[in-house]
Symmetry: C2
Subunit: 422 residues, 2 copies
């Protein structure tokens, strides 16, 4: 297999496509705005980014992102879209994720030649799989840690997101574990604030988790949010692991690739990746990065779970995008595929019993964590009924039974559908 | 002074402004999509984000970013813009930069209520200044390390960006130091690739720098790009420092806040911050973050220099934005201001002798690094003449002499203007 790195992009430009893409390739490899004598043909051949493919798409009358007016030609400018693929020799950067990001998602976003530029996908040569650990637990390991061999993990987020004391958090956890929950996570806003420090929270929550595990033989996975400085995350990871915890969570964009990779190399529990800030990469159709490319970076860095939003969510993302994201998490990387590099997609955001059927229909897998906050906590009959309603909804989905039929014999599901169906 | 964190945003929404902003405040503090019994008034009072100000701006007929259609009302929807300020109690998160980012630049970008959302500015309470080291050298320290008390540092980027061997790099450095350069940096694409490893480059370059320093008493600052994994950056920093180097560079977005902060706490040389990937935050007028907010995060994390692009650059950024960015770097933070937290703005991208006058007129300061790649390397009379042309252009600017008048008596400047003026 080739030792080249491939990246595909959606672009839009008022310049001839070939010329614009050459600027992109030059900017991201050995070019500068004027060709230097030292940029020999041999150097360009060995280190230049190569344009592999240009597939022209539609044209527009106006630019999608503001750019300086192009030089006047004959008539008004036309903004041509295309899907293009560039490649780089691994020799330029070696298998380094941070330098990969600076190369495939660096200065090029600012080039004046482009009125749209979005990274769509990445294909990485095998040395990246050798250089990075990838997920430590992934799908199979998460199932083993939680003792749930087949069905989706039913999860929730501690709510209110911030403001509860450690003791109040433990009180909510007590109700959740009694109600049969599989997975609980801190909110991404709740890390190590003075009103609820990580250590105090671990001290309050873990006895509840451990006691339940001793009684039932099944340990609920609690993702403690250890987002913070590098040394702080390491200490907090150790604190969670020493208390018998099985998972830590980090806000990926806020911590960054170097911090997450370092944590992963130290980590002995599952690593739950929160994508807070993802909207910055995704909200514009004309700028940023697809989740398909994004999740490859974090899988290599070593997360075991990553958030993908959910169907009919409270955010702006369309369902088709959520489905594509979840499928990407469960698709092998590399050629030949590296076994075990799949990660658990985490469904979250406005999820209730109401979305299980469609979610299963869309991804045809139960290898996922299905998180509901209000969908559990605001169930009219309480937290236990909220958890049951989600299990029942997934039982119906997997068995291919209409959810309303199933609700006739499952009161918690019926009450959830009544309450949450919009 | 208040212990609250303030963040201001540009927003656009088809919903009533007050309601939309309440959703934003709820999402980023204690709310979920349905109010829970445990979200008591006391908890909201103590931990909820507060809407401090809403300044309505213009209205539009269509959304700037795609959002799901709002519920139909009377007539077609109107998209209202506003500048809003929210505040959070420090008690929610403590002085933690990663949790700050998850709070002020997290999930809110994805909310379906908003067809534009951009973080404009941040005001942080003093505990952040106590928790983070800030720049170690900043403006004064960089001047001391380079022995240049007053004028701008004239800098360059090794070009071609990638592909040169360590020996060829040292050859370029030899010409540059002989030509009188003050500052040299690796390109952001050139970190630790197999064709030019960091250690081999240090071994080749540093003897040239040291020999020149011994001869002249003035050490050229070379920013070695150590972007990489956390442990790798630490080792490479140590390697640079042991060889007598005075600066390391990191691609900030690719490494992330936790990695950069950890490096800063270990660092004994100047820390040069490259913003590759900044376009992702800035290219859309309707999404992302202003540089004013962005540079505050990295200054606290501890960079000494940060890139701000340049006037009439090869990218899409307008000059007014470049000027605002440079001024932000030189503006104190915190109330009362923390002395020494100003950082050197680094001008770069298509810079030549041609932009000095306007740059000085715009920022009225010489506390900056003025980097030219092609503007030095492609000078028709060679690298030494390229460096001289930039010094001469800045002499003219600071003395208030018309650059063309000055060029009459300064041949290198005249030739640069001839070559590069567009």
């Amino acid at each position: 297999m080739s030792d080249r790195i491939l990246a595909s992009y959606l672009i839009e430009t008022p310049y001839p496509l070939e010329r614009a893409v050459e600027v992109m390739a030059g900017e991201q490899s050995c070019g500068t705005f004027t060709r230097l004598a030292s940029e020999t043909d041999a150097l360009r051949e060995a280190h230049g980014a190569r344009v592999e493919r240009i597939e022209p798409l539609e044209s527009l009358d106006s630019p999608s992102l503001p750019i300086p007016a192009p030089p006047t030609g004959v008539g008004p400018p036309v903004y041509r879209r295309a899907r293009v693929t560039l490649s780089w020799p691994l020799a330029n950067l070696g298998p380094s994720l941070p330098t990969l990001v600076a190369t495939v998602a660096g200065n090029l976003f600012e080039l004046k030649e482009f009125s749209a530029l979005k990274l769509l996908d990445l294909t990485l040569p095998p040395p990246f799989a050798e250089a990075y650990p990838g997920p430590q637990f992934g799908v199979a390991g998460t199932r083993e840690l939680t003792g749930i061999p087949e069905r989706p993990l039913i999860g929730t987020i501690i709510k209110p997101s911030v403001g509860l004391s450690p003791e109040a958090t433990a009180g909510v956890v007590r109700e959740l574990v009694a109600g049969g929950i599989d997975f609980i996570k801190d909110d991404e806003l709740q890390a190590n604030g003075p009103h609820n420090s990580l250590e105090a929270r671990v001290d309050a929550v873990m006895p509840v988790i451990r006691e339940h595990a001793e009684r039932t033989g099944r340990q609920v996975m609690y993702a403690f949010n250890i987002t913070g400085e590098a040394d702080e995350m390491r200490e907090h990871h150790d604190y969670v692991a020493a208390a018998g915890g099985s998972c830590v969570m980090v806000a990926l964009n806020a911590v960054g690739l170097a911090g997450v990779t370092q944590l992963r190399r130290h980590c002995r529990v599952a690593l739950h990746g929160h994508r807070a800030g993802w909207g910055l990469f995704s909200r514009s159709p004309h700028l940023g990065m697809s989740f398909v490319a994004y999740q490859k970076l974090w899988r290599l860095a070593g997360v075991d779970h990553i958030h993908v939003n959910g169907l009919r969510n409270k955010f702006s993302e369309e369902d088709a995008s959520v489905i594509a994201s979840a499928r990407a998490c469960l698709t092998p990387m590399f050629d030949p595929p590296t076994p075990g590099c799949e990660v658990m997609p985490v469904f979250s955001s406005g999820q209730t019993a109401e979305q299980a059927t469609d979610t299963y229909a869309a991804i045809a897998s139960t290898d996922l964590i299905f998180c509901a906050g209000g969908g559990i906590m605001a169930h009219p009959d309480g937290i236990g009924a909220g958890v049951k309603s989600l299990r029942q909804a997934w039982e119906a989905a997997v068995a291919g039974i209409d959810v309303d039929d199933y609700a006739r014999e499952h009161r918690e599901l019926a009450r959830a559908l009544e309450t949450f169906r919009r």
